[in-house]
Symmetry: C2
Subunit: 152 residues, 2 copies
DNA sequence: TTAGTTATGTTATAATATAACATTTATTTA
DNA sequence: TAAATAAATGTTATATTATAACATAACTAA
């Protein structure tokens, strides 16, 4: 299992990486998109769309719901952030590559989120669903429980 | 993998089973709760809360959002239905036992949902998260893709 | 009974998300 | 470059999903 945690020092790195990926793929990482991605990454944990909107308004007072949702759509589509379906919330991705194999550990106690990747889990899902003649495209796996720190 | 599909002939059986489980556990399966469960089961696939409310209003015109959400909460809590987090929708459970190990196959083409259980997937999740010192409580696993019928 | 609990009724509002159309900015092509 | 095209953003309005808060009713237990 690979384990990812975004540290404050990683934010600039993540932003630069996003910039590189966008340039490589002919995507426009506009100021708005950079600002929103930056706000999400700075948050550290997960963030709700309207809280994010409030933050964005401090930079751009004219921002409105479509501003944030359109930007979130772009960032989601290109893998710079993820949506946590069980929380209706968004979280930055610290390894924005083409990966559809990540899942999330959500601590019920401290609300910390851990994004993880596991080929093993992915393989089991593929094998199990294929026995059911189902061709998976995208899996949502969100595991709520208690994290290491909260166990002590 | 165990595969469950609710057939129309199963609805009465499911309702009776719910009744038995409630009696066994000192729960009150009131008329409202029966009506809502019945509407969900009749739907066959997944159902949105407000569509369900519209259906319920045909039986009880005074029904309002809290009516449906409170009833859904009861049915969810006791495992008679499940929530599909990635669709903000609800679906009946055809095997309402104490099971936290089910997951869902969602066909992007025909919208059919298949509820499945797999000890194997569950074990891999447990083993993988425990290596990360995380104690899982509840896992949301929703796999979107293409079902058997839509592949042909 | 009568108190306590659980369920439902009711009003209002919070929280999440999108439709539709206008304007601006960037990119392409003539 | 200039015009045409496409992509992004601005703006208003509204749709969708869900809960808070408090009143009343129905069950349960003593
Ligand atoms: Zn990621
Ligand atoms: Zn924790
Ligand atoms: Zn089930
Ligand atoms: Zn299908």
């Amino acid at each position: 299992m690979t384990k990812y945690t975004i540290r404050k020092t990683d934010i600039n790195k993540a932003l630069k990486q996003a910039d590189i990926i966008c340039k490589r793929n002919g995507l426009r990482l506009t100021k708005l998109r950079q600002d929103v991605l930056s706000l999400i990454l700075k948050e550290g944990g997960y963030v709700k769309a309207y809280d994010l909107l409030d933050e964005l308004k401090k930079i751009d007072p004219s921002a409105k719901p479509p501003t944030i949702y359109r930007t979130l759509d772009f960032l989601l589509e290109h893998g710079f952030i993820h949506k946590l379906q069980s929380l209706n919330a968004f979280i930055g991705c610290s390894h924005p590559q083409d990966h559809k194999e990540c899942y999330f550990l959500i601590c019920n106690n401290c609300q910390k989120i851990e994004e993880c990747c596991s080929k093993k889990i992915n393989n089991v899902i593929k094998n199990t669903t294929s026995k059911n003649n189902f061709v998976p495209d995208q899996a949502v796996l969100e595991i709520a429980g208690t994290c290491q720190q909260c166990l002590n």
